[in-house]
Symmetry: C2
Subunit: 269 residues, 2 copies
């Protein structure tokens, strides 16, 4: 535990207290306006499974439900493999502080096979990150400073500027370069500020309720990204009655689809 | 319990044994090639929460992880509200047969507010269901006969006919007409045969591992559908290393976005 540890790795420090219990702590560097960045919580939950001795295979699907804000300080993750099959494994997790459940999650891990492969999702046509200035985020959103973000469309709108499209596309990498891994990919899959900001022209109270990420990339493809930028593009599908849903894809610079990720977000307007 | 009960309602018969345990049974009318139709399992899990005395609000998000095939006969659903907030509630569920966990799930329910609303997902331009003949499904897929399906694109391919697109769009309603409800919507959100069939030209072993559905529609919009057709359109995003993911939308005939639904599917090829 030294100050020279990468901020992401500091947030991923988990003690396995026993087979079904892991203890971690919030990291000030990943603070959101209320509680920590949802992506870092998703990453910690994924890492709790990844680092469990019973785990088999790679992450395939992760669903995280944000039930209540996590307070600054320690948290416990109760986890167990509800079922282990020959080639995949189903986990259930609860993140608690005291007796309060703050987050619930399920994760599917599995082994891969060589099969026919194809990508149908369209890689956005964008200019290189080197040709785009680094963006600043809202003041006070501490975690956003952990990333070097370069928007190619749909940057955070100025107040009162309404957009007809909710699409945001950006290049993103760790501010302090660090090789990509599954947990970091889980975090970056939640990189997008709320789509309702674009449509309504500025800040609106909003927060993710449920986040699902499908991992397309394997270890070799993630290793090939290294600490390079990944391209992230999100759009909303529908806004209604206080909630909207968002779908997104993350890509490597050479066009490998890394994750598909979806979330349901509440908003007040 | 009579033979005149609608097949969907027969599959939704659940006994609340105590606050945390519900008992149901598979219905032969909803049999898939192995175990029941995934959609009917999703519906039973949703209904277990809906019919729980502690439930607040409407379904917002449902994630179902298919861990192992459900055998014909009784099953138990262990469920509990991990957290109840003022306006939403987070549930965790496990479907078991004996000591075996067959399915895990999380559900978020919540109350709605009137807000600004808009739909960005594009309603497919299609001809009316009355102008399309009813399709037949694979022989032996019993559950498929519970639905009247009319494909506007991407019907089940003939052997050896490969498509460049994985998109399927169809009108669908219950074969025996029945007013739509949240549980039925959860079932129909899993209506699509595996996308890999289209791309590879015929039957390929495949099965859903994880299914997430976001419910955009409220009770009034669902009631307005009644027993009419809904329009369902799905496409794959990426196929790699034995898995693919699918994203889909369900619409009412007058263009209300009812659900966005995503799934991760394994395949062998």
């Amino acid at each position: 535990m030294t100050d020279t540890m990468h901020p992401f790795d500091r947030a991923m420090r988990l003690d396995h207290l026993d087979a079904g219990l892991v203890r971690g702590a919030t990291e000030p560097a990943w603070a959101n306006m209320v509680g920590p960045f949802g992506g870092i919580t998703a990453a910690a939950l994924l890492r709790a499974v990844e680092s469990h001795p019973d785990r088999i295979g790679d992450p395939l699907a992760l669903t995280v439900n944000y039930a209540a804000p996590i307070a600054d300080g320690e948290f416990d993750i109760a986890l167990g493999a509800a079922r282990t099959n020959r080639s995949n494994q189903h986990w259930i997790l609860e993140l608690r502080q005291g007796d309060d459940v703050k987050t619930t999650a399920t994760a599917v891990f599995g082994r891969h096979r060589d099969t026919w492969a194809d990508t149908e999702a369209m890689l956005p046509e964008v200019i290189a990150p080197e040709d785009i200035p680094r963006s600043s985020f809202f003041e006070g959103v501490v975690w956003a400073n952990r990333y070097d973000m370069r928007f190619t469309e749909g940057a955070i709108p100025e107040d009162g500027v309404l957009s007809e499209s909710s699409t945001t596309t950006l290049w993103v990498r760790d501010e302090l370069e660090r090789p990509l891994d599954f947990a970091a990919l889980a975090a970056v899959s939640d990189i997008f500020y709320p789509r309702v900001f674009l449509r309504r022209g500025g800040y609106i109270p909003a927060g993710t309720i449920s986040l699902t990420t499908y991992f397309h990339a394997g270890q070799e493809q993630i290793d090939a990204v290294g600490s390079d930028f990944v391209l992230a593009s999100a759009h909303a599908n529908g806004f209604a009655r206080g909630y909207f849903d968002q779908s997104a894809h993350l890509w490597s610079r050479d066009g490998v689809l890394l994750t598909s990720t979806h979330q349901l977000v509440y908003f007040k307007d």
